[in-house]
Symmetry: C2
Subunit: 361 residues, 2 copies
């Protein structure tokens, strides 16, 4: 067996230690004589697993006690629709900051369920910059302000949490949650698809402040209401038990690595290595994102001659790299550097990039 150097944007690399543990426990988890997939979510063994995973996450992120943690389904996209149903009244309004394909998609899905106002957008620069906070046209009556702290396609990241006053801030952190320490108290609601920094796809982690759960419910099915899920420990129906399990293993792994401070330092170092390789390539590689907004999670780059794209992809694949192809919306290359992508993997990538430039420069 040989493991590839996996730079996929998501679903993405998981820590090898997590995979090995899941492998070892596949036929007999925790002495139950069954896979964790084969057990009732309401039985004591899984209930303990579920509570322990939440507890670990609470410690990692120092989540204040007035926030609930939910383990949901549907991917972030479903919650683009469900968030307005839960946080805004029928006919209400919400502000959206648009900085890339995913925040734009958040607007278009939300628009069926709320007046989704674009309060700021960097579409004019083709999402290579962040719209300066001073220019945001925020509505103080908005039910919430939604933004995407990290946009995976361009590799564009907010390195500060924007101040939006009293209106609750809602963040789609699918691609940067757990990548560094975070002040949860600045947010009304944080949500993240698991398949980048947490675990397998099919799980959505949500951290939501109590007062938002107390907003009067719309006339929607109970299963769609976050307050109901919170009141039922995310078990209003059968949750994604496998996803919850792998997420718990990942939280434990992060803890063992030194927690989020260690993750943040490591991710800063890893991304700096790739940006250095790009910036020091004499124009062979190029990253066009505004310097101050470069992502630590997704590093996109183009080759000076796009005719070399297919050569780069073929040679990198032959050398054991996967997931380097850029998103089809922008082309080029992209290296995603989530927590589970190791320092040696990044060293191998940087070496490959230098060798490739030397051969084809």
């Amino acid at each position: 067996m040989s493991r590839a150097w996996n730079f996929s944007a998501g679903p993405a690399a998981l820590p090898e230690a997590v995979l090995k543990r899941a492998q070892a426990e596949m036929l007999d988890w925790n002495g139950t004589g069954a896979s964790v997939m084969e057990l009732s979510h309401r039985g004591k063994p899984f209930m303990q697993l579920a509570a322990a995973a939440e507890q670990r996450l609470r410690q990692l992120l120092a989540i204040p006690s007035n926030y609930k943690v939910l383990f949901l389904q549907g991917g972030a996209t479903q919650h683009f629709a469900q968030i307005p149903m839960n946080l805004a009244p029928e006919g209400g309004s919400a502000d959206y900051i648009v900085t890339g394909v995913f925040s734009k998609k958040a607007v278009s899905e939300a628009a069926f369920h709320v007046d989704a106002r674009v309060a700021a957008t960097s579409e004019a620069t083709d999402f290579l910059t962040l719209p300066p906070r001073a220019g945001w046209q925020l509505n103080p009556e908005a039910s919430y302000v939604h933004y995407t702290p990290n946009e995976t396609i361009r590799g564009l990241e907010f390195h500060e949490i924007p101040d939006v006053g009293e209106v609750p801030l809602v963040a789609d952190m699918s691609s940067n949650i757990l990548g560094a320490p975070l002040d949860v108290s600045r947010f009304g609601l944080i949500y993240a698809g698991a398949q980048k920094n947490i675990g397998p796809s099919g799980l959505v982690l949500m951290i939501v402040r109590d007062d938002l759960l107390a907003r009067p419910p719309r006339s929607i099915a109970r299963i769609l209401r976050y307050a109901e899920q919170a009141a039922n420990d995310s078990m209003l129906n059968t949750p994604n038990t496998w996803g919850w399990y792998v997420a718990g293993l990942t939280f434990e792994w992060i803890e063992g690595q030194g927690g989020l401070a260690a993750m943040g330092e490591r991710n800063a170092r890893k991304s700096a290595m790739v940006y250095d390789a790009i910036d020091g390539s004499d124009g062979f590689y190029r990253n066009d994102v505004e310097r101050a907004a470069r992502s630590r999670m997704n590093v996109s780059f183009v080759l000076h001659d796009s005719a070399l794209d297919s050569v780069f992809l073929a040679e990198s694949e032959a050398a054991g790299f996967i997931g380097l192809k850029g998103h089809k919306a922008v082309g080029g290359m992209r290296a995603s550097l989530y927590n589970a992508v190791s320092q040696p993997a990044v060293e191998a990538l940087v070496q490959f990039m230098r060798d490739f430039a030397a051969r084809h420069g």
Copy 2:
């Protein structure tokens, strides 16, 4: 490692061969150098897996070409709400046949999104019987008729597909899909949470006729529309890739066992063994469900003296059985006999039941 005799109602036993395969492939699936959880759903390897799983399912169930197969999320409960949003117009009406806790829950969730009329119910018998077809008060103008072919809690199963005329029949088959051959052409829409007869929780399989997808969409987010998911091969956003993978392995396993005819015979034999043990116990065990509606998937039984319940559970657990406790709504015991529950497991259970009765009778 010792494997338990697993009779859980769901999440439930998976075929050991499927678990072993998933275990072997955990760090390197299909020569990719990555777990299937670590790969893009849009990459060629996963796309092939996804298409092959669908193809296998189509063959197993002989699904006609005018039906789409979807791999969704949210559990059956979410689709209690989503089905009316998709199949009925705003202000429309649908008929529900209520035969247990789950069909009742289907009504209460749907009621937020459609006029959910109870066209027949067996609640008066505490769901120990099926309401005779002749008494159903069907509305010919209904957008669909919804029923639950197998109710897991009592263990109550329709052994014939009811004739509801021209109105599309919608079935929540979470607990009996793939348990026997099925004439898909009799249905408008079939859906099933995976965690009983298909794979891990967090995946919903849906089989839906083209003309239902062509009904005019309500003003709901695209991600909630089945027609959009169908048009995007269930990849409007990232699907539950692990669930899809395990489902594919299960379909392959069923095929290797001889397909649905073999499954149906095996399940009939397994359930007959447990019912025989109950009926032949001289009243020590009792099953109160109407004979003709006894489920082949979930066999519920009570002990003649409920003071023995905790003894039965403790002794069965010590003997290596799990999941035999009945649902809290009805108490007693329940043995779920899904496809992955082997003949030897059922033999062990029946032997244990006889021994227990001899010891405590």
